[in-house]
Amino acid sequence: MATDTRRAVVDLLGRYGILLAFLLQVLIFSQLSPYFMTGENLLNVSLQASINAIIAAGMTFVILTAGIDLSVGSVVALAGIVATTVCKVDLPFPLNIGAGIAAGLLFGTLSGLGGGLFVTRFRITPFIITLALMTIWRGAAFVVTDGRPVWELPAEFASLGGGRLGGIPVPTIVMLAVYAVAHVVLTRTRFGRYVYAVGGNIEAARLAGVRPQRILLAVYAISGVLSAVSGILLASRMNSGQPNAGGMYELDAIAAVVVGGTSLQGGRGTLVGTFIGAMLIAVLRNGLNLMNVSSYLQQVIVGLVILLATMIDQAKKT
């Protein structure tokens, strides 16, 4: 009986470990801070989570193939710069904004495809090619802007990231849409299945008739384009293209993916997990800010919580 109960708890933890950790955290913060559970703050949290969550969705695809994408933060910055620069061209609204968005997304896609090409054609470890891209794009962001932000944008640009639809912040809506589509793609289409197959055993997948090259190219492109989406939303929220935006975003995104239960060895994981992982991190930062915890101590606490959440999630595997 006692072992039965224990087993049930472990089972529950296993299946929903990260969800429980998340709910526990929400509970704690709602007790500790009267501001936490207000509707406005929850929208605020969803808005703050959106940037990292969108990147983490793309990162999930990459990590499922046993890869990694360290370039996301620099792509965020440069996509923002590209989008803001292009939308300043002399075109009537909404063409200018549209052109800016298209250019930003194009950059993200190309960056992803470029990285993917090096992984597939030249067999460069994803870690290294994306590390190189991270450095290169960051340098490029400073070179093209000479270190100064791009600003004096068309007024409408700010409404992308700062606006609301039916009371919900636009980035939150974009995030939900991204997750809905990505989840269906990953769980219900051939492409999604092949992502898992390539990550689980690339040689087995190849022998079964999957083209690993295409799958790998695609996941890096997805990561690139979603980073660009985040970059554009962020630039819009900042009403400027910032060359130093997105620093260390890769770590937050990877943390969300891994805390969400996706294996860095590839082949195993879900977008639902990543979503909860991203939310967990955002809630934590928000809660600590609301409670006026010193930023030094915040770092320590964030580290501990990531660790704890992963340990709870780990319960399922033992």
Partner: protein
């Protein structure tokens, strides 16, 4: 909690970063003065990340603080954040770095361009108007860009002085040390170095002392933190430091907020003096 809130004014602070002594001191000035006034401070750090800073502002708005103090990561980009806050009826004050085109109640700062100019003029004096000079830079921070601009402006009046190197020490001592060591190799006859903050200047000093020269370059730093002041006093190659008064910036900011709460008029800009200190001045204290 509600009752407590009615009694105490809560002020949200978003610092540029917390790794530098300058902001430690600024925060100390804020804290000391706030304690006197009985205000509660919520201090966060944006770590040079504007996205993060805007999130922090949003958290403050969600929490309905009574005022916000910002050290903006970017003068222009912070605009939407300031707007959000003031639309929610929360007054915004900026310290150290200004926000452009944004409804800020008052900006309290020392003038970094002027500080850079002071350093340049002192350098010219030390070098008697001739020699090679290097800058240990951190060209991703607005206030640093201003210092360097002031420094270059001042030196442009001295044709005998050439700036031969401008390298990135990332504003931290370990990286500055490495960058400076390389510059010293490339320019054996280097006469002067401007470190954009004290970590940069002290890193340069470390490099000079580890690669002993008959005639090491003179170094000018910025901020006059205790280790830098000490190095100046003991007669090292670090000769002078631009001194800001970050604690003063902090306490003045609280003063402006108190005045604003009390319904008194406050100026758009409240300047805090800067100066330059050398061995003579420091020994005099």
């Amino acid at each position: 909690a509600k009752k407590e809130r009615a009694a105490t004014k809560v002020i949200g602070v978003s610092l540029l970063n917390r790794g530098h002594i300058f902001y430690k001191d600024l925060e100390e000035g804020l804290q000391e003065q706030a304690k006197k006034e009985g205000y509660e401070l919520i201090v966060t750090s944006a770590d040079f990340d504007l996205g993060k800073q805007i999130s922090q502002i949003e958290d403050f708005v969600a929490r309905k603080v009574d005022a916000i103090i910002l050290c903006p990561v970017d003068s222009r980009g912070v605009g939407p954040g300031v707007l959000t806050a003031s639309q929610a009826g929360i007054p915004v004050f900026t310290a150290d770095i200004a926000a452009e085109n944004a409804p800020v109640v008052c900006h309290i700062a020392s003038d970094n361009i002027a500080g850079g100019r002071l350093a340049g003029e002192y350098m010219a004096k030390l070098l008697n108007g001739a020699g090679k000079v290097a800058i240990i830079n951190q060209p991703v921070v607005t206030s640093v860009l201003d210092r360097v601009q002031g420094f270059r402006d001042a030196l442009s009046k001295f044709p005998g002085i050439t700036i031969v190197a401008d390298v990135n020490g990332q504003g931290v001592r370990d990286r500055a040390l490495q960058a400076a060591a390389d510059v010293l190799q490339a320019h054996q006859d280097l006469a002067g170095v401007f470190g954009i903050n004290d970590d940069s200047a002290l890193g340069t000093l470390d490099a000079c002392e580890q690669f002993k020269r008959d005639k090491p370059p003179v170094i000018i730093g910025y901020d006059a933190t205790p280790p830098a002041a000490d190095a100046i006093k003991r007669g090292s190659a670090l000769k002078a430091d631009v001194v800001q008064y970050p604690k003063k910036i902090g306490s003045s900011t609280i003063d402006m907020i108190r005045a604003h709460f009390a319904g008194q008029p406050v100026p758009k800009v409240f300047p805090v003096e800067v100066g330059i200190v050398d061995q003579a001045k420091l020994s005099a204290i």
